[in-house]
Amino acid sequence: MLFPRFMGLTATSLRLSVGAKLLLDGVDLDVNSGDCVVLVGANGAGKTTLLRALLGLVPATGEVRVDDEPLRSLTPTQRAERLGWLPQSLRLAEPIAAVELVATGRYRFGETRAGREKAARHALAELGVGALADRLVDTLSGGERQRVALASLVAQEAGLWLLDEPASHLDPGVQESVYGFLFDQWRQGKSLVMVTHDADLLLRVTSPVEAERVRVVGLAKGRTVFDTRLSDEALADQLGELYGVTMRWIDLGERRSLAVVGAR
């Protein structure tokens, strides 16, 4: 599959406070084409806020540039062409069929109704849920809903995906298949920024060679505290400190695992 061009995103000293609370305290982040950047951090560290700032959904100061243009100068359609967002949860105002929800991802193309429905069905099929196209979204299971939400993202055909805990509330089997799908997209050239807590899940869906290419960026109190690789020895300590636990690398033979072994 050919992805639209995405050259890179640069965020410089992003700062956002709501009342007295500082949510982002001068975050810098570079995402290059073909990158997979994993944002980790304790609850409230600013991960979700950072994604929203990258999308221009919150009034953060500092600058976000996409493809070397300021985000502010892009029209909503141009933004949607470059950046696609998977929010943590999907909240629907009223019942709607899966295919119509996925078709919302086609907004930026200005197609006819038949055109966007065709693209939506295609995206649902790509996620393996083509048979659910005409079901109401709120009658689906959590895993099915998440696949429908991902299909909507696929339908949008944006260059960089910003994913907020794409599988956190799902069972382990669905988690693996969701991450499996995302990393397949990455292997084909899609650029990803994702928020997750589960580093070991990432190690399960990537090869050791791929793990060297996956960037892990730690956030604490609205600041970037490390920017390393998923294969890095130091990651166990860095994650442990971030979450206030003790983590250790465990050799499973064919791969390594990163496990919490106790309190810090």
């Binding site: 929203r52 959904l57 909503p76 933004r79 909240r91 105002a93 119509e100 919302t104 930026r108 009658t139």
Partner: protein, 309 residues
């Protein structure tokens, strides 16, 4: 029901409505039909279309199934303006009531729209602001009514129940173009309103210019409802009930919701006005009483209906 069938039923109601009524001698029949009933049906169709489509658009915009023009203060502002005209400018006749209502509607709803257009306004705050202004306008209206004499107060109450009977072709000439413009603006924003199903931020990330869409819908909707209320009084429940009726008839989804709400709103108000006209021989009910009598139980049924899963 099929969406085409729903539209056909609504159009048939509108076409048949002028011919419903007690039989008359041929001389007066022609006059009654062309000079009284046809303009009355046309006005009801225009107002119903505006209230129906604006109701559907506001429900989508505010992400709230109970949102209507009443929620943004439009109706309460119009009522206050009309009351003001009835009480303080009685010498100028019926036309001042319309102008007063129109100015009142805009005076309340345009600040709400302007606020909604600000970048950092959250839509739920806008909704609450509209409710607050509605309550404030209602309180001032109640205060004015107590100070009025009995005859003025009765006129004000009569107006506040809504009527499409006394408007005539002059009303059609004004309301027709306004209704067409409002329907055109909402239909042009229909795709964006459909994308709002997953919330404003998600829609923004999908390429919708949420702020400008919000402004256009609120301004067009407020103007349309202000005109409708100014000429016919605040007719309750149409904007609330019609979109729900459409969903119940053709199923969920927004692809056809807006145009069907316009057509069904027109049919619904024409039907309600016909019932108001002939339902109680010798008397004429205010159409707002009929729409409320149909709308309130329907709304309760909608709220109590178990969700189909």
């Amino acid at each position: 029901m099929n969406r085409v069938a729903l539209a056909v039923v609504a159009v048939l109601v509108i076409v048949a409505a002028p011919f419903v009524g007690p039989s008359m001698d041929p001389d007066s029949a022609h006059f009654v039909l062309t000079q009284l009933r046809v303009p009355r049906v046309l006005v009801a169709a225009c107002v119903g279309a505006v209230l129906g489509i604006v109701g559907a658009a506001f429900q989508a915009l505010f992400e709230n199934p109970l949102a209507t023009p009443s929620t943004t203060g439009t109706t309460a502002g119009a009522a206050l303006g009309a009351l003001f005209a009835i009480l303080f400018l009685p010498a100028l006749g019926g036309f001042t009531v319309m102008v007063g209502a129109f100015i009142g509607a805009l005076a309340v709803s345009l600040p709400v729209a302007a606020w909604a257009a600000r970048g950092d306004a959250r839509i739920e705050d806008v909704l609450l602001g509209g409710v607050a202004l509605t309550l404030a306008a209602g309180a001032v209206s109640a205060g004015l009514q107590v100070t009025a004499d009995a005859q003025e107060a009765f006129r004000a109450v009569r107006w506040s129940l809504g009527s499409v009977g006394q408007v005539g072709y002059r009303g059609v000439a004004v309301l027709g173009p306004i209704a067409l413009a409002v329907v055109a603006v909402v239909l042009a924003e229909g795709r964006g309103l459909s994308v709002l199903i997953g919330g404003e931020e998600r829609a923004a990330s999908q390429g919708v210019d949420v702020r400008s869409m919000r402004t256009r819908i609120l301004v067009a909707g407020s103007l349309g409802v202000a005109a409708a209320v100014a000429w016919c009084g605040p007719i309750a429940f149409v904007g609330l009930v019609v979109p729900h009726m459409v969903r119940k008839a053709v199923g969920p989804g927004r692809d056809d919701l807006f145009w069907l709400s316009a057509v069904s709103g027109a049919g619904f108000l024409v039907l309600a006005d016909t019932v108001a006209r002939v339902g109680w021989p010798g008397k004429e009910l205010p159409v707002g009483v009929v729409t409320a009598a149909v709308g309130a139980p329907m709304l309760i049924a909608l709220v109590l209906r178990p969700r189909s899963r």
